[in-house]
């Protein structure tokens, strides 16, 4: 019987397998940031251990950093960033600190440097590590104990998750993006639908996505509960990688590509579960509730708890409506927002900024609008293309790179009761600041919403 892509990559990385034990898996790349690493480095120090492979490890500062120029003013955030600097220096780990040209959100810089390649195992103390699976590797988030384990041994004991195929047939209609696709998938399978699985996204619509779009889809795999999401590498992947700083060169490139081409699910392989979705039926999606599975087409209205027969879903909807300050039956297009955020590891890449700029060109925003590039390299490229001028002329704020308003750890937050349209990945209660209310959207919908002040698709303008 043939093997799935996930099985191939997994098998390639098994260091040791014994009956009744999890596999010991080799980790090709370990990404680190300031929030989930301090206690792990402390653990190493206490045990007198070293980082086994600093040359397979890279660190950046992203969660705590302010996105306006200047130092960190919050003393606790500052200590955390300084602790990372101390640890990186002591253990010999490459670090891209604030202000450095290579700094950025951890899941944006890996692919950008060409460090994320097909067939690799990649981990980070961050659940959105699933982003890197867009290149055809197995990439997943881990906790701090596991961060310490990888630092000390470059391996992880793990059971191989089951495999799920999400087959996306048809083509995405014009104006419908990778973000809408993944929001629709999560709405369909639910926040627990992927638990225990590695998801492989397949089918025509997936093949047609750019690398940026594929990263957006894989990024949010965790919001469906999946441990990882992946997409088989193809010419789109190779074109993206070619010439990047850490991509192979010359003969090594040819060898690598030959191997990468073998990284696809065999025709006779069997997935543990298959989910089908028709891309041609999709329209722009937005979330109305407090988990990413509570999403609907923008054409819909706020649902009523009575719409749900399952008592758990009903009480979740009741609670969500109360927290979100929404009334059942209100058309989603009538929801007014106070703030628009374009950025994060879901939608903070150059293509996302281009699509937002296209909508904002020659228009004016009427809400507070933050445009935050996912990395300093994205920022630099956007400025070379003049996108920052478009944003500024529209009245939006053009910021420095970081996680920004994706989570309430840095100065970019919502005030209690404030409502945002956000290109990030989590609409959890308080995610963007205590009492803040989040609607997840694509960059295009975010930009159009900034123009009208209520949830809007570009086609409505």
């Amino acid at each position: 019987m043939g093997r799935t892509l996930a099985e191939k990559v997994w098998e390639q990385h098994v260091v040791r397998r014994a009956d009744g034990e999890p596999d010991l898996l080799y980790i090709d790349l370990h990404l680190i940031h300031e929030v989930t690493s301090p206690q792990a480095f402390d653990g190493l120090r206490l045990a007198g251990r070293k980082v086994r492979r600093p040359d397979l490890t890279i660190a950046t500062e992203d969660h705590n950093v302010p996105t306006v120029l200047g130092p960190i003013t919050d003393p606790v955030s500052k200590t955390q960033v300084e602790t990372l600097r101390k640890n990186a220096a002591e253990f010999g780990v490459r670090l891209h600190p604030m202000g450095d040209a290579g700094q950025g959100v951890v899941h944006i810089i890996g692919p950008q440097f060409g460090l994320t390649q097909p067939g690799m195992t990649i981990v980070c103390g961050d659940s959105h590590t699933s982003t890197h699976g867009a290149f055809g590797g197995i990439a997943f988030g881990i906790g701090t104990s596991e961060v310490e384990h990888v630092l000390a041994t470059q391996t992880l004991p793990a059971y191989r998750p089951k495999t799920m195929a999400i087959e996306v047939s048809g083509e995405l209609p014009v104006g419908v993006t990778a973000k809408d696709l993944i929001l629709a998938i999560i709405a369909k399978i639910g926040t627990g639908g992927g638990q225990g699985y590695i998801v492989e996204y397949r089918g025509e619509a997936v093949r047609k996505l750019s690398m940026e779009g594929r990263m957006t889809v894989c990024n949010m795999s965790i919001e469906a509960g999946a441990r990882a999401g992946m997409i088989a590498p193809d010419e789109t992947t190779f074109d993206y990688l070619k010439g990047r700083r850490h991509a192979p060169e010359g003969e090594a490139w040819d060898q690598a590509v030959a191997y990468w081409k073998s990284l696809r699910t065999d025709d006779d392989a069997v997935f543990d579960k298959v989910v089908e979705i028709d891309a041609s039926t999709l329209t722009p999606y937005v979330t109305w509730g407090t988990n990413p599975g509570q999403g609907l087409p923008l054409d819909a209205a706020v649902p009523s708890p009575e719409d749900y027969t399952d008592p758990v879903a009903r009480s979740a909807a009741e609670r969500a409506l109360e927290y979100m300050g929404l009334t059942a039956g209100t058309p989603l297009r009538e929801i007014q927002v106070d703030t628009v955020f374009v950025g994060s590891c879901t939608n903070g890449r150059i293509e996302d900024l281009r699509s937002a700029a296209e909508i904002l060109r020659g228009r004016q925003v009427i809400t507070r609008t933050l445009i935050v590039p996912g990395s300093m390299l994205v920022k630099h490229q956007a400025e070379q293309e003049g996108l920052h001028e478009v944003f500024k002329a529209a009245g939006a704020e053009w910021r420095e790179a970081g996680c920004s308003m994706c989570l309430g750890m840095n100065p970019d937050t919502l005030q209690p009761g404030e409502r945002s349209a956000s290109t990030s990945n989590r609409n959890f209660e308080g995610r963007q600041g205590k009492g803040g209310r989040t609607h997840l959207v694509s960059p295009q919908v975010a930009a159009a919403t900034a123009v009208t002040g209520r949830l809007t698709a570009p086609a409505d303008l």
């Binding site: 009744g20 999890p22 080799y26 090709d28 790349l29 929030v35 989930t36 301090p38 206690q39 402390d42 045990a47 040359d55 397979l56 490890t57 969660h63 705590n64 919050d74 606790v76 955390q80 602790t83 490459r94 460090l115 390649q117 690799m120 103390g125 659940s127 906790g143 701090t144 104990s145 596991e146 384990h149 000390a152 041994t153 391996t155 004991p157 059971y159 998750p161 926040t191 627990g192 638990q195 509960g225 441990r227 850490h246 991509a247 192979p248 090594a252 490139w253 060898q255 690598a256 407090t290 988990n291 758990v312 009480s315 979740a316 989570l407 309430g408 750890m409 989590r426 959890f428 205590k434």
Partner: protein, 195 residues
């Protein structure tokens, strides 16, 4: 990590689904660089509501949290586990858990127990009827017991053994350092390094 064999204590029912780790410990609490003091952040936004179940004095001292489905979804923050443990919980019972949270729990010796929906519901109702009800979570026998009920749960042998022995994963892996070195010698030559 402390050994876990059998634990008996009182329980607190958390009648919510999708309790994500942002709720268990909001991001502002993640800025600390130490491993202690996270109990103050546990459910800190929800605890501001006097009607929140953890503020109910009848559940004081509870060591078993009985939650709705999809507990611990979202962010990978292990701080969620630390906060629960430092607040006093030894066990979380739910019908479904976020994968990363469940993994993190077993690394730290907080036992995540999966019971069927109707059993979770029954236990929640029993605890609501009698907040002083004793609940026994027997890892050795893979059973949860209360008031004459006894419900089996599944956990893989290896994780159970590790929890019962209180073993640290790094120490276990380092016993196989030779295998790791051998694997490293055979890695594909084009794989990137960060240097």
């Amino acid at each position: 990590m402390d050994k876990f064999t059998t634990h008996t204590g009182t329980a607190v029912p958390l009648r919510r689904s999708n309790v994500d780790t942002d709720q268990i410990i909001p991001a502002v609490w993640l800025k600390q660089v130490s491993r202690t003091g996270f109990e103050k952040g546990l459910f800190s936004a929800w605890r501001e509501d006097p009607a929140f179940v953890l503020n109910d004095p009848s559940y004081e001292g509870a060591t078993v949290l009985v939650s709705g489905p999809d507990f611990g979804t979202g962010s990978s923050r292990e701080h969620a586990v630390w906060a629960l443990q430092q607040y006093g919980f030894r066990v979380v019972i739910a019908a479904r858990f976020g994968d990363i949270f469940r993994n993190n729990s077993t690394k730290m010796g907080l036992l995540p127990v999966i019971l069927p929906d109707d059993k979770v519901e029954a236990l929640q109702a029993a605890v609501e009827a009698d907040p002083k009800l004793e609940v026994t979570v027997d890892l050795d026998g893979r059973q949860v017991r209360w008031a004459g009920e006894s419900v089996a749960f599944e956990i893989d042998d290896y994780t159970r053994w590790r929890l019962m022995e209180g073993l640290d994963d790094i120490g276990l892996t380092l016993r196989h350092a030779e295998d790791v070195a051998a694997y490293e010698n055979g890695r594909q030559p084009w794989l990137p390094t960060t240097v």
